[in-house]
Symmetry: C2
Subunit: 205 residues, 2 copies
């Protein structure tokens, strides 16, 4: 299908070239499949464009989405070894973020871990450490009130440079949707589990 042509040209004083470099905030929400998968597909595309990609998974299990993680890290390794594409980092909350030193007495507190993840992302956004961020399943700590949505929206709206951010998960808060440039809802029409089927290797993970 042909590339879309904007229906209106904004009166923002920007040239098309400058408008092409605007940072994008995308949200993938809804109860259907493909929210994270499409975000990782975008990350793959960003890699090819030579962008610096960082994924932050706000999930409990370290095993989750290991297929995408391995593939993206393989692309990151290719960048390191041959210079193709861009660098890739993959961080997951799991039992605690990789950058946090853990003592034996570490308390497993998901709300606290989620806040620590967001604090680190805030720091990286301010420092413009990456070009393309995936905040996977990040809507949940917002939805559950673990992280303040207004503060997140404020930080994202004011992020410097041309850093792209993709946020996935159900129940995206309205304020986040309003702040986003691109919002897609994935709706389940039919799922194998409805017929009692379990996940397939290579398909579900």
């Amino acid at each position: 299908m042909p590339k879309g042509v904007p229906e209106t040209v904004p009166d923002d004083g920007l040239t098309t070239r400058k408008r092409r470099r605007l940072p994008v905030l995308a949200v993938h929400t809804g109860a259907g499949k493909g929210k994270s998968t499409a975000a990782f597909g975008m990350a793959m595309r960003a890699w090819n464009a030579g962008l610096d990609v960082a994924v932050f998974q706000f999930v409990k299990s370290a095993k989750w989405k290991v297929g995408e993680e391995n593939s993206m890290l393989a692309l990151g390794g290719l960048n390191r070894d041959t210079g193709a594409g861009g660098p890739v980092q993959w961080h997951k909350m799991g039992q605690g973020w990789s950058w946090i030193q853990r003592g034996d007495d570490a308390v497993e507190d998901h709300a606290e871990s989620a806040r620590a993840g967001w604090a680190e992302i805030t720091r990286r956004l301010a420092a413009q450490e990456h070009d393309f961020y995936v905040l996977d399943e990040f809507t949940y700590p917002l939805h559950w009130g673990w992280i303040d949505t207004d503060e997140v929206v404020e930080t994202l709206r004011n992020r410097p440079g041309t850093q792209h951010v993709v946020i996935t998960g159900r129940y995206a808060p309205q304020a986040l949707i309003e702040a986003a440039d691109l919002v897609t809802e994935m709706t389940k029409i039919k799922h194998p589990m409805d017929a009692g089927r379990k996940g397939q290797k290579g398909i579900e993970w």
Copy 2:
């Protein structure tokens, strides 16, 4: 989020293990973004599982989705060089499929090209040449009547082995949806082009 547990267990005489190996037919449809991107994200996951991946793009322009193509081919190259993941092929209709010899007098007929693509896929499915097929934008030749939907559904329903197939594009025919195991509709809630913005490198392509 925890992995889902089936609500019902089917009375099909299969063990969970066997049910895990059932081939999946997935359809990504709707007017929103992410249909193809999620399919390529699934392909990336399939690559990591060591599956043999083949993408067939039913599009006119050879430039389309070059970001995903390059990244997937980079993963395919990694498989060739190091044995990681699975092999990757990427075919596009463009001015004619790669496997078709073209004379100088070649007529550019998109309907004919689309039919030639489907004929080749039919052959490969029968021969079980791949494990994971992406038929990108394949709903359009069905929707436009270039390829007979009933024949496609019949072929897909009867495909041998455990070959997974993901089909993307708007206007998925009802018969295809009925035949599919997993159907997701992507709905546009908000898009940058609504605000007159053009595509961003690393984001849109």
